[in-house]
């Protein structure tokens, strides 16, 4: 191994990974729209960490366990409840948290553009080697924050990752694309977004949940980071998808095929 390669490896081992986690309505909850069509009902509804964010946390913690990086810092933007999501990540093995406090109207209007500005500012402040995010949140399904964070930092992006491996000071990313997989090699620092099959997130054990209570969570506001969170978008209304009526039951395969022929489907 050449001297320069040795330096690169040690640079990575001392690196820090920033992981973004979002608090969303739990995936198992049936979503209801408010009668005034302004947004969905969130009061009294079970919330959890966005499943793709769990995968991002797991990947960062695994990297630390393999001694590829030295610290995992987890970030969540939102009101007081965002702390619960940060605690969950700390219980999974992250080292410390940053709660970016956003409340009221600002929180309602908080979108990928604003969050990516916050993530980019924190990545610089924390001198992160990697930012790992979920590929999308299951509430707005935007699939934008990682790409936008990478753009604002002018860092390469490894999105929809299903496999990561360090190669010197670069990262090889196997990506899930339409119709198959793609492999890219990107420089660090970089932004990675986690797809479903990157790993299986661990459950936090009781001792680790207890330990997580002692870990530090810093509180900052977007303004402290010099970030303007003015929204460029306005949600006009939210509607329930049209209900699909249950159809008829048929008795036999022949009956089924006859009806499909009649409908011109086969």
């Amino acid at each position: 191994m050449s001297t320069s390669a040795l330096i690169n490896v040690s640079a990575i081992m001392s690196g820090r990974v920033l992981v973004g986690v979002k608090r969303v309505i739990d995936y198992a909850v049936k979503i209801r729209v408010k009668p005034d069509n302004s947004c969905v009902v969130t009061d009294g509804v079970k919330h959890s960490m966005n499943p793709f964010c769990e995968i991002a946390v797991e990947e960062a913690v695994k990297m630390k366990e393999k001694k590829l990086i030295k610290e995992v810092v987890v970030v969540s933007c939102g009101p007081q409840q965002a702390m619960e999501t940060i605690r969950t990540a700390l219980a999974m093995g992250a080292d410390r948290g940053i709660h970016v406090e956003v409340t009221g109207k600002d929180y309602e209007n908080l979108g990928p553009l604003q969050v990516s500005k916050i993530m980019a500012a924190l990545a610089k402040k924390e001198d992160a080697l990697l930012v790992i995010l979920g590929k999308q949140a299951i509430d707005d399904d935007c699939n934008q924050t990682g790409q936008m964070t990478a753009a604002l930092l002018d860092w390469p992006q490894g999105t929809f990752a299903s496999e990561l491996s360090m190669e010197g000071d670069k990262i090889k990313v196997v990506r899930e694309i339409d119709g198959g997989l793609e492999t890219v090699k990107i420089n660090t620092p970089a932004v990675i977004t986690a797809d479903l099959r990157l790993n299986t997130p661990r459950y936090a054990t009781l001792p680790n949940i207890m330990k997580a209570k002692k870990k530090k969570i810093a509180n900052v506001k977007p303004a402290d980071l010099g970030v303007d969170i003015t929204s460029r978008l306005e949600v006009l209304r939210v509607d329930e998808p049209p209900q699909r009526e249950a159809g008829v039951k048929v008795e036999t395969v022949d009956d089924l095929l006859a009806r499909l022929k009649e409908a011109g489907r086969i």
Partner: protein
């Protein structure tokens, strides 16, 4: 009012979703310009030139556009934007478009909108504020290594008909479905359970976190109907459910339901279609 459509292609053929993006751009009104960036894309340019609704084609050929890396394409789009001042920039909502457009949008300090329907609203405009012209120098921060696409003679999942089902005991049982799908010239999809169990490749997954399909006909074989799966196929024109459990939630959304053992019903269907 003018729109830039970023073409998705593999240097030989234009990806069909680009046509959807062009149609959307036409609906926005004004001139539609299509950007074709690649390593050797003359054939694609020819295809685009025949598409109705495209007034102008911009071609950028350079080795650095191999693999359509967003790190290389973003500066190109920004320079194009500086020169032409488009009111909208759009692409298909595929892995390509989703990887690229948010990066472009962040550089322009605008909020991208993932759903083309929302661009119809005058309030939800991708407003261009940035800038430029010729091919910028390669960024050189990322390197495209390979793409391995699942080889299949069957139509793509997004095409006309889909037969989808949950994995049973093994991937071999999917053969029953392939036989039926072949008879109907249909694609085969799968639920997350089947993909996670390794029975079928990832890109066959239908559902919220997989592919969203809206075919003419969707035959759900042995699928119980988890919310996440329904989210991926509920816009199909006709949904057929075959399940031996009469209480399966899939029957609540199916137009035609057959309570039967799939191991009997599916081969019977294949045979009947043979006649």
């Amino acid at each position: 009012q003018s729109t830039l459509v970023v073409a998705e292609h593999n240097n030989d053929t234009l990806t069909p979703i680009t046509l959807n993006a062009i149609t959307a751009a036409s609906k926005l009104g004004g001139e539609v310009t299509c950007l074709v960036a690649g390593t050797n894309c003359a054939q694609v340019v020819e295809q685009v030139s025949k598409v109705q609704g495209v007034q102008k084609i911009l071609v950028a050929q350079h080795d650095s556009y191999k693999g359509s890396l967003p790190e290389e394409l973003t500066p190109l789009i920004l320079q194009t934007q500086k020169q032409f001042n488009f009111t909208h920039i759009c692409a298909g909502a595929s892995a390509f478009g989703k990887n690229l457009l948010p990066r472009v949008a962040a550089k322009l300090d605008v909020a991208p909108i993932s759903d083309i329907i929302e661009i119809k609203s005058p309030d939800t405009f991708v407003r261009a504020i940035y800038a430029a012209v010729t091919c910028p120098p390669p960024a050189g921060v990322s390197e495209w290594l390979e793409q391995c696409l699942t080889k299949s003679d069957r139509p793509d999942l997004t095409s006309a008909k889909v037969v989808g089902r949950r994995g049973l005991k093994s991937g071999d049982n999917f053969q029953l479905l392939y036989d039926l799908a072949d008879k109907m010239n249909a694609a085969v999809g799968a639920s997350r359970a089947a993909v996670d169990a390794g029975y079928v490749p990832n890109d066959m997954q239908v559902g919220q976190t997989g592919k969203i399909v809206a075919p003419e006909l969707y035959i759900a074989v042995g699928i119980s109907g988890a919310i996440q799966h329904l989210a991926g196929m509920k816009d199909s024109k006709t949904i057929v459910a075959i399940n031996k459990d009469p209480e399966a939630p899939i029957f609540q959304v199916a137009d035609l339901g057959l309570v039967a053992d799939l191991f009997k019903a599916v081969p019977e269907m294949t045979k009947a279609l043979d006649k």
